[in-house]
Symmetry: C2
Subunit: 294 residues, 2 copies
DNA sequence: CTCGCGGTTTTCATACTATGAAAACAGTTC
DNA sequence: GAACTGTTTTCATAGTATGAAAACCGCGAG
């Protein structure tokens, strides 16, 4: 029955290459909260023995995937990654296709707009246009990630995704950020069903108290949800704008991007064919959880 | 004599971890000219046997470092890289520190300005502010790279770097892009000496015929050159502006950024202490060239 | 419909590579 | 100067990554 006879089953019938897996685990350990780490931090974060972590890190440094403070000392993600991200970003045609519509949406609403996708079970920002009110610049930024369960973008992406990510997120503990964060799995499931019905998602301060955000899914030609767009701003202003049809505008903008990507459908239909893997999608990392029969 | 008794000597006294090295070689094979590759392309580019390349690629896909078209087919750099680049970019405080000065320079000159660093022997753009003339958007972009020997940024970085990169670049064949490209090593060396004297570098259509560019080095607190800034535009306009003291402005802007980074010196002195490795710097990749004694 | 071809995926026995415990080393603090 | 804390190196060995070759797949031509 095609159970990979080796240790960890993985991608297809393959085993994981341990050293590579570990190297990537080391890279993955960095995020905006811990953008720099000492060897010890790394060991702790990855559960690797010091000698091993050291050797791998040295290899990554050598190749520019990590940088290191004056030969010894803290590590942080290196320039090679910036170069590659440039290439990666260039491959996301959603980004180019969405740009004009996004700009329009920003200019009309005067608030910050985002384009984002799902990376594993987190939202990753692919594009950001700063709002025109010179006020608080949001903490977002291209390449940043945010939790999915408490952001409009995340909820839109989960609700209109293929269901795997939704299950994955729901199956874990949902972290509380504000009093309004939905931390109950069943509740979230219901909420996402509603999002699916509506065709858009709203975040009413579930991640940051004063922020309101509206998001709608973007589908590629095959109908697969590959990204989402959003408008976000302070509660005050956003509420006024929502009264004036901002939600409709966001949905309209998303639909227009879909059309520019070649998607013809229109009604928010749930995913059915699991075939395509077109643009986005990273399977869950660290540990393969139990044997999904597939 | 501390020659690593293992196969390939590397970072310090360490050997390379082959599978990791190969995985990174695969990633490195992607660039804006070949942003997508089939397995066969990869094999060709990396000289790996198909089975090996396949297995490694599958591992990278699994972790989101590569994406793959619908399960089989072309590979391209994945979202994980975008996330990490975000973290990396956040760590370059040059970037933040330089931002206001850069903007000023752009607004004054109305031309496109760049912040860039050396990644191996190429220039990598870390920041770009589009010029105000709505005309030709340059092909640059954050994360893109360009050759060092024929761009103002590159020449500034080489001339004021620690010398290793300069030697490295000169020791190789210098590709010709335009009639004015300096393709002779000795000539380039002389030219860089002049750059060092002047304190800035100029590109007179050595990379793209019609483009003129002025660049000056940015030093960190220790005096080490970690980046360079530039103003670039069409020959016509740039020549006018150079008559009006644009060169001085660029140098002044660079010096101001240095000061913001805590560098107190001022005269362009050549590097002397090889201690720091502060912000930037990736050693050469692929193959360790002959035995540099130290 | 079948054959053949270019490409991708899987298998499998083995060589040799990556591993981590432990020891050396370096830098700081008391 | 002694006692730590964290980093680097060593080294014998377990067991992993390897690649040749075979299976597979999809497609176009006959």
């Amino acid at each position: 029955m095609k159970t990979a006879r080796n240790g960890q089953a993985s991608p297809n019938g393959h085993y994981r290459i341990r050293s590579i897996d570990r190297a990537l685990t080391i890279l993955d350990a960095f995020d905006s909260l811990r953008p720099r780490m000492s060897l010890t931090d790394l060991c702790q974060a990855t559960q690797l023995p010091p000698s091993t972590a050291y050797r791998i890190a040295a290899n990554l440094v050598h190749r520019g995937y990590l940088s290191q403070d004056s030969g010894r000392g803290d590590y942080w993600p290196g320039l090679a990654l910036i170069r590659l991200a440039g290439v990666a970003l260039g491959q996301l045609d959603v980004r180019e296709k969405a740009a004009p519509t996004l700009k329009e949406l920003r200019d009309d609403s005067k608030e910050t707009v985002h384009l984002a996708a799902l990376d594993g079970r987190r939202v990753i920002y692919l594009e950001k246009l700063e709002g025109l009110h010179a006020v608080g610049l949001m903490s977002s930024r291209v390449g940043r990630t945010a939790p999915a369960h408490c952001t409009a973008l995340g909820k839109a992406l989960l609700a209109f995704g293929d269901g795997d990510a939704e299950e994955d997120v729901i199956s874990r503990k949902l972290e509380r950020f504000t009093p309004r964060t939905i931390v109950d799995g069943a509740l979230l499931r219901g909420h996402l069903a509603k999002v699916r019905e509506q065709g858009y998602a709203i975040d009413v301060g579930e991640h940051e108290t004063d922020v309101r955000c509206i998001a709608a899914p973007v589908r590629d030609h095959s109908g697969k949800t590959i990204a989402a767009i959003s408008v976000a701003g302070p509660a005050q202003r956003m509420e006024v704008q929502m009264g004036r049809g901002l939600i409709k505008d966001v949905v309209a903008a998303a639909n227009r991007i879909c059309r520019d990507l070649g998607y013809l459908g229109d009604a928010p239909r749930s995913q059915e064919d699991g075939s395509e893997r077109t643009t986005v999608g990273r399977r869950d990392s660290r540990d393969e959880r139990s044997g999904r029969t597939r």
